[in-house]
Amino acid sequence: MNDRRRINGPAGATLAPFFDDAAPQDLDTRSTRSRPPNATRKLLLKTGVTPSASGSAYLEIETSAKPGLSGLKLSCSVHGPRALPKSAPFSPHIVLSTHVKYAPFATQQRRGYLRDSSERDLGIHLETALRGAIIADRWPKSGVDIIVSIIEGDQDRETSKLQGDEVWDMMNTLSGCITVAAAALADAGIDCVDTVAGGVAALVQDADDGSAPSIAVDPIPSEHKRILAACCVAYLPTRDEVTNLWFRGDLPASDLDLYTSLVGHGIQASKNANRVLIDCLSGTVG
């Protein structure tokens, strides 16, 4: 998929100079998690940031003290409800469309302007999470666009080198997307059964080997030696229901308790995020 509308650098461009600022042995002394395993990072949530949108919200997860490690910065705007295009068939419900887009500079590797497959994938996850939360039949014949822009992608500069897999970052991002989109939806005045928020928990191994893996809430991949499994849940606290569950990892089937407690911790993380969401929304009414 080529972006033909803009002039991008040649495909085989040379790499930007890379300064090996850390000696190889220093790399191993990764930042370790200073929070307790069941504590989430601090969250900033604000609604009504984009005046032109029907509803909007901004979410920021605290940046770690360590330099070179960026936090998560998301902005979400909700456009609508508005009339569906003429060609669309009659819909008794509101038609939800979700877009998740990384800013080109949000991650270590530059992203193009067109959505790539991982962004589409995130979009579907987000749609699933939100569709369970909204009351769609309140808005017949209308559509709403939910656009989440990832301004800063919660990535350690070193992380992808060490982990080799960005899926764990995607889970953190998705959980933020869910929370910020829920706030923006509430801001837009679209009926929801509950406030949905995202939460992530992971099964991590901190020591090199031998030690039993432990469960950490809101994990930062670079803070852990190895992530064995992780899950991202979208949770409705009042109804005690999960609208989206995304699990990935490698767990023996015989140890289902591990899975259950992983999901439980994910829900715990989501409840934490939900408190921030409720505070934020209450602030707009009062």
Binding site: G80, W139, K141, G189, D194, T284, V285
Partner: protein, 219 residues
């Protein structure tokens, strides 16, 4: 959990009260026989109007013995309240509903119908553009077969109309049959704002020329 009185402010999902004591209104939803909020805003309790008359409410299957007697709970977004501090100009979008009186601008006319864009619904200025349709038979109540669209509306006119149907996938169906409905503002061919003369004529005050419209009764 307040079981006796509903809270004054609500967040989506918040418990407002049992369905046996309240009727669900706008901004609320039912979940497991309880009313929950579905919007962020202030909670209002509306006592039922006594003059409901022989409404068909009794046929509705609700667990309450006499639903018509119950007060209605609703959640109104703060930004929509007149009393709310206007730190935000924005209002929550509303959908035109059957029975609403709307203001719309005529976009184009055909011999059978006038296509309009709905601008204001009730007291709310709409953000999105919803399209409506005034069919030739819905222009006025009498002599329907002699109505001509071009003698009733012209593109650019601002019309007050009532929503009579959700319509098809794109259009709401509107009607201007009542006296107080019809063109409320129009510009003559010469480009001057016209004043109403009769229920079917407008006059250009500068040139004195008359133009035919379905004119709304001035209020």
């Amino acid at each position: 959990m307040t079981t006796t009185t509903p809270p004054t402010l609500a967040i989506p999902g918040q418990l407002l009260g049992p369905a046996s004591r309240y009727q669900p209104g706008p901004g609320t939803h039912l979940h497991e026989s309880n009313l929950h909020a579905s919007l962020v805003g202030q909670v209002h309790i509306t006592q039922p109007a006594r003059a409901l008359g022989p409404a068909k409410r009794l046929t509705k299957i609700t667990p309450a013995p006499a639903p018509a007697e119950l007060p209605t709970l609703s959640v109104t977004p703060a930004t929509q309240l007149a009393s709310a501090p206007s730190r935000e100009k924005k209002k929550r979008e509303v959908l035109p509903e059957v029975g609403n009186v709307v203001l719309c601008r005529v976009i184009r006319i055909t011999p059978r119908q006038a296509v309009v864009a709905i601008l204001v619904c009730g007291d709310t200025v709409l953000e999105a553009e919803w399209q409506g349709l005034i069919r030739v038979q819905d222009v006025r109540a009498t002599e329907k077969d002699r109505v001509k669209i071009y003698e009733s509306f012209r593109p650019g006119d601002v019309v007050r109309a009532e929503v009579i149907s959700l319509g098809d996938q794109t259009n709401y169906y509107l009607s201007t049959t009542r006296n107080e409905l019809g063109v409320i503002s129009a510009v003559s061919e010469a480009g001057n704002t016209m004043v109403p003369v009769s229920w079917k004529e407008l006059m250009d005050p500068k040139s004195g020329l008359m133009e035919l419209r379905k004119v709304a009764q001035p209020q």
